[in-house]
Every structure is written in structure tokens, then in C-alpha cells.
Symmetry: C2
Subunit: 547 residues, 2 copies
């Protein structure tokens, strides 16, 4: 590479702009050209829903940088409204089309960085080509949705993933009637169902209509209204439809240039973000990187990975193999839905099952900070580990507060290859407003070790067989007010004196509100010779049958 | 050990009660006796200041468990108002005195767990024996202070550590005039001075008088008022004095019994919390455990370690050497002071210097969550690492929000022996209300690696030599409104075109508001052949001379 190399970047937002900025800091004399199809660069994609809902009032705040500021601060040649249309790897040249006048051109590169992102999936359904059926990816989409939303009373959101739910929440904030349709039987199919369940309840209690396990068969426009017919036959009518069923990598250019793609169409890269052509890098939503947990491939369309992958590509261009490798993506993600937050890191059960991993899992409920301090609220934390060696494989959590902190701790633990034993003793900050002497992360690890060590047996659902004795160990008054069908009430503090009432020849399952008292009860029963197990997470996690 | 061993526990709060609870869960048939000198067990020591200030309104909330609940739920024999007075290791017997009637007794043990905690240090100063000079350790102290505070207008807090500042804040909440005296030249001497500085400002801006670098020489009582004379000669008068200058381990019993103590009088234990007598364990504030970072000893008087050490002792009694070891303490700690939080984990500069470690450090300023999302506030994060291998050795942070999260992430990183390289890529949860695509932890690690890799040179203070050219790279308007004495203003975006104004033969130091723009400027200057460095943390961290 010569002393004044030309770094050409396709895509000017998260991955592309990060690469450009780091490249400039590493090298003052390189020519850095950034091509962007749209009119904007460096905007906060992740903030788009919040401007529609008015929570980010000032549109300008979404421009993290502008073409001008990138030129001024970083001497980057920014070409907006310029689309890359082909890559000639032999000539090391990219063909471009200037969208303002339709003119074309070619630009030579020494190193090419592909950061074109991903585009919203638009399935080929009947009636889908309609200006009232929209997707959200950039500021123009945002402006369009904001304007359209102002003129309608009701909005139909298709897809209950992260973006779909952010949109549902924000549209509700501005007074719309909102329905959400999701093909899976749960919202947020990225996380395990029991962790997502409180979010469904939160949406409903905020007046959002939720239709689960149903897909859209087609749309019909009548006047200003769109009617979506669902697979079930049900139909829903709204003034505006937001499609948010996922994204697909914009890897067309790469594919046409013969670069290696992964199974789902993402560009394959090595830990320096190099594609199969060493002069071409790919970063962000378009690429597929390592899954450091399972040693497989991972394509994670999120802002953090895009930013840091962009930085990695720049590092490798100027530092060569001494550059810091991108270690792969865990998929740490979070979403706020009204008063709750939900997130996850690493793998969920479905993924681990698919990979054939023999994993254990437990879910605990605990306060996010000292229970005796005002504002204590429940946090539900699920931890998954490898039965082989206790290594943490993933976690998910839901609650009003403190979800992000616990996920971040566990994400860091995954990077450190920590085990559930290690997590028993991670020493987290504790003062009453911030945590507890035993943080929920410690408690989840305790509970995990207790299962692993056979101190307790657990079930994850209510027993359905006739033989099993279900014992409700909650305080007597609670058991009376809200009895659990089929359960005998023996409050925890009476168990030792009432063992005679339980049949030792039949299995016993204990249940309580949060899963803690039933664990205590199970310990007593097991040591007294009973075949006992407790319901993980208690009623908070597994609502009693008939509820 | 026989099948129904007697586990005797001295001390019934954090460490003692945790050991008792875990012991019972591990063994239904053991006799578990817990001796407590005071009338209460299992109370929330950490909540005491907040009841005095009314933030925890209900006193009963501070009783996490009661003697009755421990008996009912865990079948623990709780003996309150019972003081252990001697340990006979040969006979495996403890002498006790019942404080209600002064009677004495002996209790035999198979295993003994010492969890007597630590007591507030009361220096032998003139006039210190006065009922208006108090310390805070238990509910009785709390009641006494609450009652006394109600009758005075002003309170003098001696010692600006965690508890001292919590008390100062809470007393201010209930309208008292509060002065704080601290011997060191900073508040919170546990953390590096620049991180503690915003807390001093926060205290002062909330109307608290702060006297630093001055100690109390003696007290004088006049009527209802106490006057403290300071070493400087200054005197302060208040209706009530709270002594919070630290704690010392209650290791008298252990010492008398010939157990091995550490250099500062704590009981030495192994990773199973066993003392030099294998049948005697020590947990909590009274013991000295491992410092996993430096491989030395650590005595950390905090709730988390006490709870988990108690659990460890119980584990070892019933599981033997298969039990999970206590890995030592990092000293992760946090405190809220009005609208700010401050905390640290691992080691600070003073400690690393004392240990002769060749460490690097950097401090960054960043928003706690996306800057474009409402509520973004500055967070200051300091990271320390081993220059030998990049391993993270410690961190401290101060800010309005998100301090606990970053410390917990870094505490976990320390457990995983992660390096600053690893922290560049920890993948933390990001959605606008929770974080940023590049989390402050990532940014601190980037900045650390940039220093380590020689991409930038840094200074931690303003240059004082005549030769060095100080360049203020902030926007021109800011530089004009609040000029930095001795600095030439060249806004970042003009640096490239105004290089000719800077003397290449003399050193250059760049400065900005937060330390980021000056880093960018330094990169430009270095690549243009200047001997340049930037002021770490900018004006936010190192106020300009003359300010
Ligand atoms: C509404 C919304 C909310 C989100 N919320 C979050 C969140 O809370 N947290 C999170 O981590 N992530 C979130 N994301 C995802 C995050 O924004 C993306 O992962 C990230 O922006 C990907 O970066 P990228 O550089 O790969 O692609 P992008 O940021 O999408 O940038 C790609 C750019 O390339 C341009 N481009 C494409 N093809 C060409 C071409 N041929 N020529 C020229 N230019 C081209 C596109 O116009 C686009 O501007 C959100 C995304 C959206 C849309
Ligand atoms: C005001 C205050 C605020 C705090 N805030 C925090 C915080 O925010 N975060 C944090 O992590 N930590 C905090 N701590 C520290 C934390 O409470 C202690 O680290 C923890 O309680 C130590 O547990 P322990 O079991 O060793 O001792 P303790 O909890 O103090 O229990 C020891 C008990 O043993 C009894 N005892 C002593 N000697 C005998 C004897 N000979 N016979 C019988 N009984 C005996 C004592 O009466 C005492 O009740 C705070 C402490 C105080 C006082
Ligand atoms: C903003 C953008 C252009 C990247 O710019 P950037 O300069 O690399 O990123 P930041 O502004 O976060 O600054 C990071 C740099 O400043 C340094 N830095 C930050 N704070 C610092 C401080 N207080 N002291 C010293 N250095 C600091 C970091 O080390 C890093 O420099 P390096 O990469 O050379 O190590 C790009 O991220 C972008 O376009 N973002 C918007 C789009 C987006 O991210 N979307 C998805 C999420 S909404
Ligand atoms: C409360 C106290 C008596 C200890 O009791 P404890 O039962 O060990 O502690 P907790 O109530 O936190 O419960 C933890 C136990 O419940 C289990 N648990 C907690 N939530 C659970 C859930 N949802 N599902 C299953 N198990 C759960 C944990 O695994 C642990 O059991 P284990 O040790 O056998 O693994 C003791 O900590 C105490 O006295 N605290 C007050 C004083 C104090 O700590 N002061 C300093 C800080 S203010």
C-alpha cells in the first residue's frame, strides 16, 4: 500500500463512518472517501422511533455528524446521494451513480470497506406496495412515518421484534390506536418465551392490541385505510402499517463481485473484518462474524458491533496483523417497552438446542436494589450455562430497572469465559440505591450451582401428572386469597412440622411466588427423604394453570 | 464431624446470618446457634443512614429477618443480647454472657464461625466521651442519632468516607446545617482525588461545609453544643457530632484465643474462610482475605463480601474441600451523594504505587447513554491497567447515572483477568435509553490502548514549564467566553490549516473540554511531526490553572 492510499467506504452511517473516523485518526495522509446513497450520514438510526414518538423532540439531535462536520473535523470526502453500483476487484474500482443527476463514474481504491447495512424485509404479499405500508431505516422513512402518523388514528405494526415494539410504544405515546401482529407465539422471539411474557402483558396493559401466532396473508387498501388479512382469517384495519419483521443484509454488490457470503447471505469476514478479497473489508449489518460462544458464525445487526467492526477494519488497514481482532458478537441487545426493559446476551434455549449443547438454565426473581430501599422492583434474570464445564452461555432479563446492568455484567463474564461458579462471587457495587449485598447476578449463579450440584431439583412448568403432589409454600393468607389449582397449602415455616401430611412414595413439587421459598422447601423435603423439586421462578415466571 | 454437629456462630447480621441460613439449607439436622450481643439480628446496616434522613421511612423495613423468622424459617437457635466472651479451642467451647441478667454460660461447638464485624474507630481525643458525639453501627445507634438530630440545628460529621457522606447527605435532607471535616485533602480518600473532586463540589453546592486536610484535635462541650478544635486551629461548633473515620475489626476474641491475625488486626483466613484453627471460621469485616489482583491480602469491610464469605464458611463445613472457594475481594464500592454517584473497584493509583506496579491509567468523559436521547449526562470513568500485560487493575467513576453499571462490568472484567484490549470489545447492551454504541467502558479501553500503543501521548495536569505550547482546541466561542490562561486557541477543525502557527521545536499540549477533541488534535499534530500530548479528561477533569 502506498503512503497516501485511497480508502473507499460504501455506506456512511454506523460502520462506515466509524471506519472513516478511525482511519483518519490513524493516518493523516490517506484519501478517505465515503459514499452514501442517502442524503445523510452518521445519523442515529437507533433514535428514529423516538423522534416519531416525540421523545427526542429535536430532529437535529439525530445527526451525530454531518457531511460538513466529517469534512471539517476529519477531512473525509463525503459523497452523499451517491450509490455504489458495482465493484471491479481486478481494477480495484467502484462504479457509482450520482442520484441527483443520474450521472455515473468510477472511483479507484486501495482498500475498500463495505458498510451498506441491511434493509428491512418486505415480503411479497398481495397489496404490499402501498404508500401506507412503510418500513423504518433512515431519516426519510422517519419523516414519512411521522407525517403519516399525524393523519391517522390507528397504526398496525407487523412484527414484534425490537424495532416493532419501540414503534408500538412511541405511536401509543402520541395517542394512536396500535395493534401488533406477530407470527410467533410470543413477542420478541429473540428471547425465551417466559422472559418475553411480561412484555406482552406490558403492551396490553398500555392499551396495545397484540395478535400473536398469526401472520399477514395480504393487504387491501380502501380509501385511506389498509386492511390486513391474517392467516387465521382475522382482519385488522388501520390508517398506517409499519412493517418490522426483520432485516436482510445489503450484500448484492458483494455477491456480484464474487465475495464469499455466509449461509444467510451475509458477507463472510475474518477477525480483521477482511472479506475473501483481502483488499475489501465488510463491517456492520452486512457481515457475518464469529460467534465466540459456540465457535460458529454470527450475524448481529446492531449498532455496537457495527461501530467497533468499522474501527477494526481501519485498524487492520493501517496496523496490519498487529491490529486488535474483532472477537465476534454475542448479540447483547436491549429494548425499553413502556415501564419495562428486556434484553439478552449470548444464546437462548432455542439456539443452544439447535447447536446440540447440553445446557442448564435457571431463572430467578430478585429486587434490582436493596428491597428495603424505596423503589425496589422485581427483576427477572435467566442464566444459561454449559453443563459440561459450567461456562456461562447466555442470559436474558426483564424488569423495570437494572436489566441493562445485569446483562452487561454477564456479557463481560461471557467474554472472560467465566463459569456459574465465578458468577457466584463477582463482587458488584452495593449501596442501597444501587444493588444488594447478593446481587441478582450472584443469586442466579447460586441457584444455577444448586441445580448443578444436585442440592435441588427443579421443574420449569407445573406438573400435569396426577401422581405428583403440588405444595404451595406461600404464606397461608396468600394461598387462601389466590389459591393454586391442585395445590395443597403448607406454608414454608410449617413444612418441618407437617411432613407427615406429605406422601413420601409420590413425587412432590413445591411452588411459591418467586421461586425462592420453594427452593428452601425443597431442601427441607429432600433432606427428609422426599423426591422433591421446585418450580423455577415461581408464579412470577410460570403462572398457575388456569390463570 | 458427627451427623448432628453444632455450628456456633458469633455475630448475627450480614456474615453470621448468611452463614446460618446457608448452613441450614445444607443440613437439616445440624444444631445451629447464633449469638448476637445486640437485640437485633439480620438488620440492614447499609440502610441505617437512610432511616435517619427519612428516605427509608419505615424502621421495620430495616429488619431483613428477625430472631423469630430465623427460628421459624430456618430453625436457627438465635440468642440475642448474648455476648461471646472467650473461646476455648481445646475444649471447643465458647463462654457467653447474657446481657439481660449478666449470667454466664458456656456453649460447645463442633464448628465455630466468627462474624463479629468491625466497630467504628473512636480516637482517644480530649472530650470525645460525650453523648453528643456518636458513631453509627446498629439500630440503637441509629435511633439515638435520629432522636438527637431532631433536637439540633447543626451536625458535624468527622470523616468524609462513604458512611460520613451518606450521613451528611441524609442530615441535609432533614434540614440540618452540616459540616464535614476530613483529614485528607480530598473527600472519599479511597478513590483517586480527581474522581472524588466532583463529589466535593456536589456537597458544597448542596450547602454542606467541607473542611479538608484538617483533623480534630479535641472536643469541648458547652451546654448543648460541642465545639471541635481542628489541628489548624479553626474551630467548629454543632449540636451533634458524628464520628465516621473508619472501622476496626472486632478481633479481640480471636486474638485472645491465639488465632492468627493479619498486619492490621484482622483474622487471617484461607479461601474457605478457615482461620488458623480449622474448626474455626471467620467471615465479614473481621477477616482478611485474598487480594486477587495483587496476590496480597485484603480486608474489605463491605456487605457483599460478608454475605458471600458467610455462605462460603457454611459450604466448607458441609461440603469440605469440594466447596466453592471465596476468590478474594476487589473492594467494589459505591456511594450516592445527592445527585451524583461515585464508586470504584480494584485498586487506585496510591495502592498500585505502594505495591510497585507499573500501571497505566486514563480517564474519559462520556454520556451514560446515547447523547441524543433525553437525560444524557456526563460520566467520568477512570481505568487502570498493568503496563506489563494490559490487565485491568481497577477503575473508578463518578456521575449522575450509570456509575454502578460500568463499575460492575469492570469488576467482572477483573475477575475474568481481562485486558484493556478485551474491554475495547465487550459488547454491552445498547438502546438509546440505556447506553451507547460505544459504551464508556469501550471508550475508556480505546483511550487506554491508544496510550499503550503510542498513538497518543498524554499529560494528567496542565504543563507548568514555559517552553510548552498549550493549545485550546475547543470551539472558538467557548475559548473566547472561558479562556484558559496561557493557552492559544486553535479550534480542532482549524488545526490542519494552522499548523504553521505552532512551533515544531517546542512541546505542544492540547486541551479541550472532555479530553476527546484534544486527543483528535494530538493525532493530527503527531503525524505532522509535532511533539504533542493531550490533557487526559480535559477541563472536566483538570480545571484550568487559576480556576
Ligand atoms: C429504527 C432502528 C432502530 C434501531 N435501534 C437499535 C438499537 O437500539 N440498538 C442497536 O444496537 N442497534 C439498533 N439498530 C440497528 C443499528 O442501527 C444498525 O445495526 C447499524 O446502524 C448498522 O450499521 P451499518 O453501518 O452496518 O449500516 P447502516 O447504519 O444502516 O448504514 C448503511 C448505509 O449504507 C448506505 N448504503 C447501502 N448501500 C449503499 C450503496 N450501494 N451505495 C452507497 N450507500 C449505500 C445506506 O443508505 C445506509 O445509510 C436500529 C436500527 C433501526 C433501523
Ligand atoms: C452505616 C453503615 C452503612 C453501610 N453501608 C454499606 C453499603 O452501602 N454497602 C456495603 O457493602 N456495606 C455497607 N456497610 C458495611 C456492612 O454493613 C458491613 O460490611 C457488614 O455488615 C459486615 O458484616 P459482618 O457480619 O462482618 O458484621 P456486622 O454486620 O456488623 O455484624 C456483626 C455483629 O456481631 C455482633 N457481635 C460482635 N461481637 C460479638 C460478640 N462477642 N458476641 C456476640 N455478638 C457479637 C455485633 O453486635 C454485630 O451485630 C455499612 C455499614 C454501616 C455501619
Ligand atoms: C460518530 C461516528 C462518525 C464515529 O465517530 P468516532 O469519532 O469514531 O466515534 P466517537 O465520537 O464515539 O469517538 C470515539 C473516539 O474518541 C476517543 N475518545 C472518546 N472519548 C474520549 C475521551 N474522553 N478522551 C480521549 N479519547 C476519547 C475514542 O478513543 C475514539 O477514538 P479511537 O477510535 O481513535 O480510539 C459514527 O459512530 C457514526 O456515524 N455514528 C452514528 C451512527 C450510528 O452509530 N448508528 C448506530 C447507533 S445509533
Ligand atoms: C438475609 C440473611 C439472613 C441471609 O439469608 P439468605 O437466605 O442466605 O439470603 P437471601 O435471602 O438473599 O437468599 C439467598 C438464597 O436464596 C436463593 N434464592 C434467592 N432467590 C431465588 C430464586 N428466585 N429462586 C431460587 N433460589 C433463590 C439463593 O440461591 C440463596 O440460597 P443458597 O445460599 O442456598 O444458594 C442475611 O443476609 C442477613 O442477615 N442480611 C441482612 C444484613 C446484611 O446483609 N447487612 C449488610 C448489607 S445491608
Amino acid at each position: 500500500m502506498n503512503n497516501n492510499p485511497t480508502i473507499l467506504i460504501i455506506g456512511g452511517v454506523a460502520g462506515g463512518a466509524s471506519a472513516a473516523a478511525r482511519a483518519r485518526r490513524l493516518n493523516e495522509s490517506a484519501r478517505i472517501i465515503m459514499l452514501e446513497r442517502g442524503p445523510d450520514v452518521s445519523f442515529a438510526n437507533c433514535g428514529l422511533p423516538y423522534h416519531i414518538g416525540g421523545e427526542i423532540a429535536d430532529r437535529e439531535r439525530l445527526a451525530v455528524q454531518t457531511p460538513e462536520s466529517l469534512r471539517e473535523l476529519l477531512a473525509i470526502e463525503v459523497e452523499t446521494l451517491t450509490e455504489a453500483t458495482a465493484i471491479d476487484r481486478a481494477k480495484k474500482e467502484v462504479s457509482v451513480r450520482r442520484l441527483a443527476d443520474g450521472s455515473t463514474d468510477t472511483i479507484a481504491y486501495d482498500k475498500l470497506i463495505l458498510a451498506p447495512g441491511a434493509s428491512p424485509i418486505v415480503p411479497p404479499l398481495e397489496g404490499i406496495q402501498d404508500d401506507k405500508i412503510v418500513t423504518l431505516r433512515n431519516l426519510q422513512d422517519m419523516d414519512r412515518i411521522k407525517a403519516a402518523a399525524a393523519e391517522v388514528d390507528s397504526v398496525l405494526v407487523i412484527g414484534a421484534g425490537f424495532i416493532g415494539l419501540e414503534m408500538a410504544e412511541q405511536l401509543k405515546h402520541i395517542g394512536k390506536q396500535v395493534s401488533v401482529v406477530e407470527l410467533q407465539e410470543q413477542v420478541l422471539p429473540q428471547v425465551d418465551p417466559e422472559i418475553a411474557a411480561p412484555i406482552a402483558a406490558e403492551l396490553r396493559s398500555n392499551g396495545i392490541e397484540l395478535v400473536l401466532q398469526d401472520g399477514v396473508a395480504g393487504f387491501k387498501r380502501e380509501g385511506n385505510q389498509i386492511t390486513a388479512t391474517l392467516n387465521s382469517g382475522q382482519s385488522l384495519t388501520a390508517g398506517l402499517v409499519i412493517l418490522s419483521i426483520g432485516v436482510k443484509p445489503e450484500s448484492g454488490l458483494a455477491k456480484d463481485a464474487g465475495l464469499e457470503l455466509g449461509a444467510r447471505g451475509h458477507i463472510s469476514v475474518n477477525p480483521f473484518q477482511q472479506t475473501s478479497d483481502p483488499d475489501i473489508y465488510a463491517v456492520g449489518d452486512v457481515c457475518e462474524t464469529a460467534d465466540p460462544i459456540l465457535g460458529e458464525r454470527a450475524a448481529i445487526p446492531l449498532g455496537g458491533p457495527a461501530n467497533r467492526q468499522g474501527r477494526t477494519a481501519a485498524d487492520h488497514i493501517f496496523q496490519g496483523d498487529k491490529a486488535l481482532e474483532y472477537p465476534g458478537s454475542l448479540g447483547t441487545a436491549i429494548v425499553r417497552v413502556f415501564d419495562l426493559a428486556l434484553g439478552s446476551t449470548g444464546h437462548n434455549e432455542r439456539r443452544l438446542q439447535a447447536a446440540g449443547v447440553d445446557y442448564g438454565h435457571v431463572t430467578i426473581n430478585a429486587h434490582q436494589h436493596a428491597g428495603y430501599f424505596p423503589g425496589a422492583q422485581n427483576l427477572t434474570l435467566k442464566l444459561l450455562w454449559d453443563k459440561k464445564d459450567g461456562r456461562v452461555l447466555g442470559a436474558s432479563a426483564v424488569g423495570a430497572d437494572g436489566v441493562d446492568k445485569r446483562l452487561d455484567v454477564i456479557a463481560t463474564a461471557i467474554v472472560g469465559k467465566l463459569t456459574i461458579d465465578d458468577l457466584c462471587h463477582v463482587e458488584l457495587s452495593y449501596a442501597p440505591p444501587f444493588g444488594s449485598a447478593k446481587d441478582p447476578v450472584n443469586l442466579a449463579a447460586f441457584a444455577a450451582c444448586n441445580i448443578r450440584d444436585g442440592l435441588t431439583d427443579v421443574v420449569y412448568e407445573f406438573p400435569t401428572d396426577e401422581d405428583t403432589q403440588l405444595i404451595d409454600v406461600r404464606p397461608a393468607d396468600l394461598a387462601q386469597i389466590r389459591p393454586i389449582p391442585g395445590a395443597v397449602s403448607i406454608p414454608l415455616e410449617q413444612i418441618r412440622s407437617r411432613l407427615g401430611e406429605i406422601d413420601k412414595s409420590r413425587p412432590v413439587v413445591t411452588v411459591c411466588a418467586l421461586g425462592k421459598m420453594s427452593y428452601f422447601a425443597t431442601r427441607i423435603l429432600k433432606q427428609n427423604g422426599f423426591n422433591a423439586a421446585s418450580v423455577v421462578g415461581g408464579l412470577a415466571l410460570v403462572p398457575a394453570p388456569g390463570k
